[in-house]
């Protein structure tokens, strides 16, 4: 097909040759050669025109190959032809069709017009994207990098916001804390106990402050638990599920600073959750959270208490006033002499020892603003810190009466007995294994003794011990039998 396309202009020019021959006298020999050439040329044309179908159906091979022969043939003639031919090549197929229309239809006798199918046989090779030299094909990568940049931007902005909030909180509370505590700010690493006077940054969103050196308490740990503003994923998750910044205050008390009771008040949801999670609330405050309406606190708050006397003692006028005026900011308040943290799930069943307890007051406050806090909001938490200080002093003064004390002691011994019962079998097993271990250790020692005399003596001593134990057991059994009788 390409042959025909290319040779047509050649044909034209050949026809026009007589008029141009004058110019190419140097290049051309006399008529004979031209005549020969013309014959060959026409012969070629004839061949091509007889089998146009074949040419049309054939896939056009790389353009360079078929064009080479016509170019060679026409080389002797004007070079203008080549250029024309190449021009024809560079144009699209549409051009070819235009060419056809320009020529006499008689030229194409025997040539079947199969133009429409011509297009189907052409296969466009895709240039691989990375060779295309355009940035647009890398749009996924650009998207990724943009995402990373957005993450980094958010990290910097979130970190700064959290830092500003923490600083604002500290600035507004500094005076109160410094007037109440001898040591404000300690990270535990310095040799001497001097106030660092600044927050201890644990994370990009958690700040700690340890205060100590006051009557009625051992120390107070304040944790500013901000939202993870520095993590973009978290920011997006918070758009689905709003959350707020929290301030957690944990006051640890000495033994003489608090009487034995367990008490909690807070939002209903928080109370329900704490009752399930916290070891001491679970054991000592079995009843469902009660409403505090009879004390005058809003319905949104619920009370968990070991006994009524405790609630009466804690809920004095000042406390009620605090709770009512700041109910929206209070998540939970938890006073306990048996505080041991949340329930620990152990793999081997129950733990063998009762968890260590510490007399603690726990306060969890919600920062107003539901995530969109500004540094000014931190001032509104100051009255709550006053409440904390007031509670510390109050708890020191709060003493149960005789009945209350008896009840409390009974509760505690009940809990302990329950625990011992539950772990009885396990403790027995543990004791058994310990005894076996001891025996084995002794046997090994005997075996390892090199001196045969000493070996014998040790063996005898062990045997005597065993005998004694057996006798003791038999005596005990006899005694029990007698008693039973």
């Amino acid at each position: 097909m390409r042959h025909v396309v290319f040779l047509l202009p050649a044909l034209l020019l050949l026809l026009a040759l007589p008029y141009t021959r004058g110019r190419y006298n140097d290049d051309f020999d006399d008529g004979e050669d031209i005549a020969e050439f013309d014959d060959n040329d026409f012969a070629e044309f004839e061949d091509v025109s007889e089998d146009p179908a074949v040419d049309v159906e054939k896939d056009p091979p790389p353009r360079a190959a078929p064009s080479s022969t016509p170019i060679e043939d026409d080389e002797d003639e004007a070079t203008v032809e080549n250029e024309d031919g190449q021009d024809e090549f560079e144009d699209a197929d549409a051009q070819d069709q235009d060419m056809y229309s320009k020529y006499d239809n008689e030229e194409f006798e025997g040539y079947e017009k199969t133009n429409p199918s011509f297009k189907d046989t052409l296969i466009y090779r895709e240039v691989p994207a990375h060779l295309q030299n355009s940035w647009e094909s890398y749009y996924m990568e650009i998207l990724m990098v943009t995402g990373l940049l957005a993450y980094i931007m958010n990290y910097i902005i979130g970190k700064n916001k959290n830092s500003r909030l923490a600083q604002a909180w500290f600035n507004s509370h500094r005076e109160l804390l410094e007037s109440n505590f001898a040591l404000v700010g300690d990270d535990g690493t310095s040799k001497e106990a001097t106030s660092t006077g600044k927050l201890n940054q644990e994370n990009e969103h958690i700040y700690n402050l340890w205060c100590s050196g006051r009557v009625c308490c051992e120390g107070m740990l304040i944790q500013l638990k901000f939202l993870k503003r520095q993590d973009l994923l978290n920011v997006l998750a918070r758009m689905m599920r709003p959350a707020c910044d929290q301030v957690q205050v944990k006051v640890t008390l000495n033994d003489e600073d608090m009487d034995t009771f367990v008490f909690a008040v807070g939002s209903r949801k928080a109370m329900a959750r704490l009752q399930k999670e916290m070891q001491d609330l679970c054991e000592f405050c079995g009843d469902k959270p009660k409403s505090g309406a009879k004390y005058g606190i809003p319905e949104s708050l619920a009370i968990l208490s070991e006994m009524g006397e405790v609630t009466d003692g804690v809920m004095d006028n000042k406390m009620v006033h605090y709770l009512t005026s700041h109910a929206d900011k209070i998540e939970s308040i938890h006073f306990s002499d048996q505080f041991s943290g949340p329930k620990v799930m152990q793999e081997e069943g129950q733990p063998l020892k009762l968890p260590e307890t510490k007399k603690t007051l726990l306060f969890t406050f919600n920062v107003p603003g539901m995530g969109n806090t500004s540094p000014k909001d931190m001032d509104s938490l100051l009255p709550l810190m006053n409440m904390v200080i007031y509670s510390i002093d109050k708890v020191k003064k709060l003493r149960l009466n005789r009945e209350g004390k008896q009840k409390a002691d009974k509760n505690r011994s009940r809990v302990e007995d329950n625990f011992l019962k539950q772990t009885h079998t396990q403790r027995q097993e543990a004791a058994q294994t310990r005894r076996e271990e001891k025996k084995r250790a002794e046997k090994e020692r005997i075996m390892n003794e090199e001196d045969p005399d000493r070996q014998r003596r040790l063996e005898e001593a062990a045997q005597r011990r065993e005998q004694k134990k057996l006798e003791k057991k038999q005596m005990k059994m006899k005694q029990i039998k007698v008693k039973a009788m």
Partner: protein, 106 residues
């Protein structure tokens, strides 16, 4: 609000030092996110390197960034840097081996 009109409540002789809470006895207090993200990042970067998957390598970069953002200040920076470098190298290697742009999954 005055705490005690009579006396200063501060007692310098009753100072206790700060003891960081023992997280071994109470694992619920710890946030596992940075550790998980670190592990995920390493797994994805290995996948990206071995299987020559570009998207794996990019996710690994994201994971290491998230792990860094959530990490505690007491944590070793070497660990963070190593996972970060690993994910960057996964991305670079994937592109060196196959400079074609990533094709979206749709």
């Amino acid at each position: 609000m005055t705490v005690n009109n009579m006396a200063d409540p501060r007692r310098p002789n009753k100072i206790f030092r700060y003891k960081p809470p023992n997280t071994e006895t109470n694992p619920t207090l710890e946030d596992p996110t940075p550790d998980y993200m670190n592990l995920l990042g390493m797994v994805f970067s290995m996948c990206g390197l071995m299987l020559k998957l570009k998207w794996c390598a990019w996710i690994a970069v994201y994971c290491s960034f998230i792990s860094f953002a959530n990490s505690r200040s007491s944590e070793d920076t070497k660990q963070m840097m190593s996972s970060f470098m690993l994910s960057i190298s996964a991305v670079v290697m994937s592109y060196l081996q196959n400079p074609q742009p990533m094709s979206p999954p749709w």
